[in-house]
Amino acid sequence: MDLIKPEIGLIFWTALTFAILLFVLKKFAWKPILGAVGDREDSIKKALAEAENARKEMQNLQADNERILKEARAEREAMLKEARELKDKIVSDAKDQAKVEADKMVKQAQATIEGEKKAAVSEIKSQVANLSVDIAEKVIKEQLANKDKQLKLVEGMLGDIKLN
């Protein structure tokens, strides 16, 4: 049967045509097409890897940020604490100093008061003495008349002064 008898002519043409087609397509079609597809796939893979890296970096960055924030918070906390302590110390120091100062002033005042008192007392004494001398003069003058009375008076007056 003709149908299953291969013709030499067609075999020849098929082989020749296929060989030429294979050669031309390999050089001018498959190489650029497969090359382009491969390149594109590589670039997609690269882009995906880059995206993954960027994501990781972002995560790292976020973690860093959080860490820094935490540190900052801790630092603030520490600073606040320190400030509070400082404040307390300053206040207490001021208090102490004020107390010392006040004590000093009180002492000074007391000393002044003491001094004044002493001066007053000595003044009073001198005045009393003067007064006494005056009185004594007057009395003496009067006593010159009445010696007993004179003595009694002096004694009584002196007793009064002592009470003061």
């Binding site: 003709d2 149908l3 013709e7 098929t14 087609l21 001018f28 079609a29 498959w30």
Partner: protein
């Protein structure tokens, strides 16, 4: 009533399909006997699926342009006296060996679309009882027949498609195809990812990609050309045994050239089996080595030819029953078959390519991979 008619029709339909197969074997006996012979479906079918030295476009062979048109194709013969070439219209559409063309002192006739060279001194073909020429021999025939013409057409189409595709890649800046390249890329990538890589493996597949891609598109485009029922398509190239034989042989040769030691060891001295079993399996494996390409050849040939035969049989029904009432059914069935054929031709091209890749993969197999 209608149902009975329908059943009768179906019976006749399937019987006719079966008988066309048997009728084919003795078709050469009863042709050209009477002028007004009854419609011979097998003759028509075998004429259409066979090769021809001219491309019939429309009209009857007896008529001339513009009532009929047959494109002549070059006849190229390698004879004892060197190369002879002339256009096929010198035979005046004769395929019965009646018209004798004389070139360089040699006489040629066209007998059933085959060129015969008459022996010295003969002036006409003599036939024996089985209608074989007795006084003529066939020279080496390298004519551009209908199938060869169709093959050139397919090559032009393939080159157009893929050179344009390749250009669209070069023109783009980011390796993105445009136009036709966008349609072709998924197929190319499919051949790479689903055919080449799984069967051949990541390491070796690149070397075979050009062959597999060319093979796939060459078969597929020629299959599709065979489906289109008008000039300049409609040939049955991929349903021709010479075509499938050539491609199968190329696959076989590449398989042999790719083969590694393990391929032969596995075939001749199957590892891991007792010795009698090894002796028993070796001849089977050797036969298998040849059966693989033969199966490739027959599978493509039979599938494509069968598709053509079915479509022609369905259309032939109109002429067998000699009534127009069969026409709608014929057309409907033809449409149905044609739609299936569109699938089949793609699948056949895929299977041929896939199996080729599989054979290459087997030949490349290394011991440790087993």
């Amino acid at each position: 009533m209608q149902i009975r008619k329908y059943k009768a029709f179906l019976t006749v339909f399937f019987l006719s399909l079966i008988t066309t197969g048997f009728a084919a074997s003795n078709s050469s006996d009863n042709e050209a006997t009477t002028e007004e012979e009854p419609f011979n479906a097998s003759e028509l079918i075998f004429h259409h699926i066979g090769d021809s030295h001219s491309f019939h476009v429309y009209g009857s062979d007896e008529d001339h342009f513009p009532k009929a048109l047959t494109v002549p194709l070059p006849v190229i013969l390698w004879t004892d006296n060197g190369l002879v070439s002339f256009l096929s219209n010198e035979f005046h559409h004769d395929v019965d060996g009646k018209v004798v063309v004389e070139k360089n002192g040699m006489k040629f006739v066209n007998l059933h679309s085959k060129i015969y060279q008459l022996n010295e001194g003969a002036i006409a073909v003599d036939f024996d009882e089985e209608h074989h020429a007795t006084n003529a021999v066939r020279p080496m025939d390298f004519s551009v027949t209908k199938n060869v013409f169709s093959m050139f057409l397919s090559v032009a189409l393939i080159l157009l498609i893929f050179l344009l595709s390749a250009r669209s890649y070069r023109k783009s800046e980011d390796n993105m195809p445009s136009g036709i390249g966008r349609f072709m890329e998924p197929i190319v990538v499919f051949i790479r990812d689903e055919v080449a890589i799984p069967n051949i493996g990541e390491n070796h597949y690149k070397k075979y990609m050009p062959y597999l891609l060319t093979l796939f598109f060459f078969i597929w485009i020629n299959n599709v050309i065979g489906l289109i029922p008008f000039f300049p398509f409609s040939s049955n190239l991929s349903g021709n045994i010479a075509f499938t034989l050539t491609l199968a042989v190329i696959t076989f040769v590449i398989t042999l050239f790719s083969s590694k030691k393990y391929y032969w060891k596995h075939m001749l001295w199957m590892p891991g089996l007792p010795v009698p079993m090894k002796l028993f399996l070796a001849p089977i494996e050797i036969i298998g080595m040849f059966v693989k390409p033969i199966a490739l050849m027959i599978r493509l040939f039979a599938n494509i030819t069968a598709g053509h035969v079915i479509v022609l049989s369905l259309i032939g029904l109109i002429f067998i029953f000699e009534t127009f009432w069969v026409a709608p059914i014929s057309v409907l069935f033809t449409l149905f078959i044609s739609v299936i054929e569109v699938l089949v031709v793609a699948i056949q091209a895929y299977i041929f390519t896939m199996l080729s890749a599989l054979y290459f993969g087997q030949a490349l197999e290394e011991e440790h991979e087993h």
